[in-house]
């Protein structure tokens, strides 16, 4: 490690935007012990980030919300395969507007009550949407709900639709539900109904700060970091 105080090592971490608050807190903790490392984030949807990294964005660490995006980068040798690690997982919940007009909606009448709109992430592009589709298909309810679906381009949009009461019901990650105080969870979706929502991380091959990058990624799996992740609704 460099012993000079002004020669701080800066690493750029590209991460799925659903992790924004959790990662920010983890980085603060990390910097407390690794005083010579400074973490800078860029948040966005995993697909977008993967594309940017592919185009040479000067990123050191990538934390994705979907395995498939990581897989593509791995195939092209853009990440260091040996550093790839699963950091955490997420679960799905069904939500409705808090103190909204449809308080009759509950765990038992999810698929039978007369509602107009169900908001989920676009099952072609948004990880939460992908898993929601898997689960609903397995439950045999995908077809019943199909005419009611409104797709969001990201989970935030799904939240907005539910928060404003325009969609009576929505399916998002636990962490997303927890980040909004205008929605409430009415049901948890059994994680076995869909492939597990893994958040893999890896160091980018082109990094100029392999040491610091490795150190940060390693830190993600430590109990301290995992504890923070749990407080934001992730599971390990």
């Amino acid at each position: 490690t460099n012993s000079e105080a002004d020669a701080k090592v800066e690493i750029l971490v590209a991460a799925a935007s659903s992790m924004t608050p959790a990662l920010t807190e983890i980085a603060t903790e990390f910097e407390k012990t690794n005083t010579y490392t400074q973490i800078t984030f860029t948040f966005g949807s995993s697909g977008k980030l993967a594309q940017q990294i592919k185009s040479g964005a000067p990123v050191d660490v990538f934390i994705s919300a979907s395995s498939s995006d990581m897989d593509t980068l791995e195939k092209d040798n853009i990440i260091k395969s040996d550093t790839r690690v699963d950091i955490t997982t997420n679960t799905l919940v069904v939500i409705r507007q808090k103190n909204g007009g449809n308080s009759s909606l509950n765990e038992d009448n999810l698929f039978t009550s007369k509602i107009e709109h169900v908001a989920i992430g676009n099952p072609d592009t948004v990880p939460a949407g992908v898993y929601a589709k898997e689960a609903l298909t397995k439950l045999g309810e995908w077809e019943t709900l199909e005419p009611k679906f409104v797709f969001g381009k990201d989970v935030r949009q799904v939240l907005t639709f539910v928060e404003t009461g325009n969609a009576e019901m929505g399916i998002v990650f636990t962490t997303d539900a927890q980040s909004s105080d205008k929605v409430e969870v009415i049901s948890k979706i059994d994680p076995t109904l869909h492939s597990s929502a893994i958040y893999p991380g890896a160091v980018i091959t082109a990094t100029k700060q392999p040491k610091a990058a490795n150190a940060f990624l390693d830190y993600m799996t430590t109990p301290e970091a995992q504890k923070i992740l749990v407080t934001y609704g992730f599971t390990n």
Binding site: S45, G47, K48, T72, G101, H117, A119, N122, D124, T125, F149, V150, F151, G152, K153, Q157, T160, F161, T164, G165, N166, A167
Partner: protein, 236 residues
């Protein structure tokens, strides 16, 4: 690239056409009202008209959602009295495109009217022409280059509108999926073939409309486009 439905094409044409006509009428009307008048606060109102351009479309869409949401004032009123459901419907897409394209038309028309020689309008009045007739037969033809530019910009913008539309109309395949949405989600899903397909379609649509427009403008409105070069003989 899977099966492709032509729904987005029809919908995009419908939404862009209606929005363009609305914007053309409202924008031209307001620009005409404001162009030759000076009152306190005029510039402020004009700056206000530019807001939809300055704010990120998503934010504009968010504002519209708040305004037209089913539990909100305007939204409820429209629903109760006109049975119009704005959110998650193609009407929402029209509203989004209209709002977002409006500044383009207003600015173009306003500038065009300022460049028209008031003396000719006065001459038309001495010939007994009413205000409306003067506007239709003198002002509009003479301002035509600017109005056409505004029209073209408006149509292009309305055709390409995406951010605000997605927010208020959501993405409901078969109901509110315009071409830009199809492109966005195809890119996002990494389906480059599909994305390219839709890009070609939208470009073809935009091109053919604009080419037809300038052809029509040249043909029917040859009298509108004053040849200016001093003195070249009539038929040489």
């Amino acid at each position: 690239m899977g099966e492709i439905s032509y729904g987005p094409l029809i919908l995009s044409i419908k939404v862009a056409a209606i929005a363009t006509i609305l914007v053309f009428l409202i924008g031209t009307f307001l620009a005409r009202i404001f162009a030759r008048r000076n009152f306190f606060g005029k510039t402020i109102i004009e700056a206000f008209f530019l807001l939809p351009l300055v704010l990120p479309p998503t934010v504009v869409g968010f504002g519209l959602l708040i305004l037209f949401g089913k539990d909100q004032l305007l939204g409820r009123w429209l629903y109760d009295y006109a049975h119009l459901q704005i959110v998650f419907s193609w009407i929402g897409a029209v509203i989004a495109s209209t709002v977002v394209a409006f500044p383009l038309m207003y600015q173009s028309a306003s500038a065009a009217f300022k460049q028209v020689d008031g003396k000719l309008e006065a001459a038309a009045h001495t010939l007994g022409a009413s205000r409306w007739r003067v506007f239709r037969t003198i002002t509009m033809p003479l301002a035509w280059p600017g109005l056409l530019a505004g029209f073209v910009l408006t149509f292009a913008r309305a055709l390409g509108e995406f951010g605000a539309t997605l927010m208020i109309a959501g993405y409901i395949p078969g109901r509110t999926d315009t071409i830009p949405m199809a492109i966005y989600f195809a890119v996002e899903a990494g389906d480059m073939q599909k994305a390219t397909f839709w890009v070609i379609i939208i470009v073809a649509l935009g091109f053919s409309t604009i080419l037809w427009l300038s052809w029509w403008s040249n043909q029917n409105l040859r009298r509108f486009t004053v040849k200016r070069k001093g003195g070249a003989p009539r038929n040489v």
